[in-house]
């Protein structure tokens, strides 16, 4: 009766079992590791309670990988490693080998194909990032391009472990901030209220949902040229872009108004100090493809002020806590403005509620 083709029902298998892919030494010593060290940057050496050992070689990738790159990594994994790999949360690839003699040939093979070895210990690891112009529907900038430019600049800091502590950098192409919190975070900052295409709002947007989305109640329903639409109180608007995803006719991106801001001191580890959010350093940097030189310059200044001045094991935010924000702005040469004073809920808690002053 029906001519509709029979569709295959999905197997709702969920999270794959990793043991089928895991390196046998890791499988054998699962939950029974004793200690580790790092024979050189980019190489980890783990020793199990059983005495078994495993060496991990960590290589940087471009994250957005074509299948030729992945197959090349597989070829190297088959020929120079033992066929098992894993990825880190920062999109580095790790090859595991059970014999130290395999480490150097593996490194050589990876380097020969242009994959840098590093990202371990007190290095600048790969930047965790978002999709950007390549694939996102609301991006203010590209992510892959910004990351490529910055990683070229910091390449030496990826392959060496010369920072006071690990440096974790993130980029995000809008304020939803999919890239996450970082020691240094490079994020899009919108600088103008949305431009509304009133012809489309009623057709495309569920207006109450858009009104509800605004964090500062700056959006109200309005009748424009006899058509139902929305209007924005530009005095109230904080240019967050929250109205754009549910209502694309409220265009928040602008070739000239979409800017980049750089933040510092985010940290998710509990080591020493509690985890922290990143804090604003510089805003209003131009969104300047293909190499974003202004962003690169700011990141460079922050990174090397930290490298030159922090004590061992201090994360970037911990270093600033010790020397104080006045000294940080002095050392980096950036301006401190009224925009560095928080104005959001709980802002008072970010103020200096003491007579502690740095000079």
């Amino acid at each position: 009766m029906s001519s509709a083709p029979t569709l295959r029902r999905p197997d709702e298998t969920g999270v794959p079992d990793p043991f089928q892919y895991m390196h046998p030494v890791m499988k054998k010593n699962y939950g029974n590791w004793a200690w580790h060290d790092r024979p050189r940057p980019g190489v980890l050496h783990h020793v199990a309670k059983s005495g078994d050992e495993i060496w991990t070689v960590r290589a940087g990738t471009q994250r957005q990988m074509d299948i030729f790159t992945i197959r090349k990594l597989c070829d190297i994994g088959d020929k120079f490693a033992e066929g098992h790999v894993r990825f880190t949360t920062r999109s580095n690839i790790e090859f595991m080998v059970s014999n130290q003699a395999k480490v150097q040939p593996l490194i050589d093979a990876l380097n020969a194909e242009g994959f840098p070895i590093g990202g371990t210990g007190n290095s600048v690891s790969m930047i965790s990032h978002t999709q950007g112009w390549l694939h996102c529907d609301i991006p203010g900038t590209d992510a892959s391009g910004v990351v490529k430019s910055l990683m070229d600049m910091m390449h030496q800091e990826f392959i060496k472990e010369e920072m006071p502590n690990r440096v974790r950098i993130t980029t995000s192409c809008c304020q939803i901030n999919c890239g996450g919190q970082g020691d240094i975070s490079i994020n899009v900052q919108y600088t103008k209220p949305p431009k509304i295409n009133h012809d489309l709002v009623a057709k495309v947007c569920e207006r109450p949902a858009v009104v509800a989305r605004c964090p500062v109640a700056a959006i109200r329903p309005a009748l424009v040229d006899g058509k139902p639409s929305l209007e924005v109180d530009e005095q109230k608007c904080v240019c967050c872009g929250a109205c754009y995803p549910p209502c694309p006719p409220m265009q928040i991106n602008g070739a000239d108004s979409t800017k980049i801001a750089v933040w510092v001191g985010g940290k998710h580890s509990n080591a020493r100090s509690k985890p922290t959010f990143h804090k604003l350093v510089v805003a209003n940097l131009p969104n300047n493809p293909p190499r974003w030189p202004e962003v690169e310059e700011v990141v460079h200044k922050i990174l090397y002020a930290y490298k030159d001045n922090a004590k061992n094991w201090e994360r970037l935010g911990e270093w600033i806590e010790r020397i104080g924000w006045p000294r940080f702005f002095e050392l980096t040469g950036f301006a401190f403005t009224k925009h560095h004073l928080d104005t959001w809920v709980g802002a008072r808690k970010t103020m200096n509620m003491s007579a502690h002053v740095h000079f």
């Binding site: 990793p18 089928q20 895991m22 890791m26 200690w35 790999v85 020493r272």
Partner: protein, 435 residues
Amino acid sequence: MSQDDSIRTEGQGAPADHHPTPMLDELESGPWPSFVSGLKRLRDNADAQYAPMMNDLLGQLEHSYEERLGFWKGGTVSVFGYGGGVIPRFSEVADKYPASKEFHTLRVQPPAGMHYDTNVLRQLCDIWEKHGSGLIAFHGQSGDIMFQGCSSENVQPAFDELNEIGFDLGGAGPALRTSMSCVGHARCEMSCYDEVKAHRSVINEFLDEMHRPALPYKFKFKFSGCGNDCVNAIHRADFAVIGTWRDDMKVNQDEVKAYVGRVGRKYAIDHVIAMCPTRALSLNDDDTLDVDNKSCVRCMHCLNVMNKALAPGDDKGASILVGGKRALKVGDLMGTMLIPFVKLESDEDYENLVALARRMLDFFADNALEHERIGETIDRIGLPMFLEAMEIEPDPNMVNHPRTSCYVRTDDFTDEAEKYFERKAREAGLDVAAD
């Protein structure tokens, strides 16, 4: 089926009308691997179905670089049986770049701990060569393998083949999201519970919430084996499981002495003892370590530095933190301590973890407003009401300090204090009158 890149020279057999990409070309120089070179390799693979698509994708991306604007819009695309897991992308400039008019992403859940072998990676490549664009990201920020660039028509066959080899779609939209776990037990001596077991037990129990989005907004679980929190659970997860221990840390005094001998007393004091956030450490005159475990907050610093000398205790488990999220709409929220310690050893312990996750997801589904993360719900209703719903008792580990505001009704304070003492007595194994 595998194709060797080396047999092709740049540009050979590629679509005849290459879009010029002068800006993107600049991203091919420099020492870091270039995604642009990768896109071009795909464009230039003349035999592949995706070559024209990747040519137009490069054209559109160059157009974005020129105009400083993105040109993708969302839509609705899914596979049979599921409501989510595909990120639809339709080009707004399809008149100029028709071959990449549809460029959807399949979000696919990675194996726990992100372990692969080369065989399965090759299978993933082969499937994506046949049905997709040849572009894969390992991994997106929620942990998914991102199979980027698929026509609407090819989404179903691509998913079917991925699913046949044991992979499943991840989360998107107002749904349970794909989760991540650190390398943990597989290769890390700091790991305090079986991350793979926790990750798979929890997520696989609630797949319906992932595949058929029905929650008020996104809900993320993440699993880190210790306080170093390598998968960033505390900022990024509504429900963060972070490994810890509650007995004394293990100290190998010979290794402590060896460490101090190697780096010197001053270095050891400055970089280990003085950096302890709760002043729980002291170096003895004979270069052994004195640990005040009652003051220790399991921050991991000294274990990280003196990795061979120090180790977590034997009574391991995890802390559960709740409500981490980024800006929208109340501002950033850090995951906050909900349960200082749960044991994660027996099957029953893991079942209890799943049961807690179920209570929280049910509560979230029933009580959160639309587009509200659970951290915001808790802010709105107050932690005491949330604890009551979760059947969790208040604990001083939940706060930095007790309240400073006197605006509170305390007429049942005495009863609450009584409950506290009874609970403490029960925990100490004493008989309680109320029982």
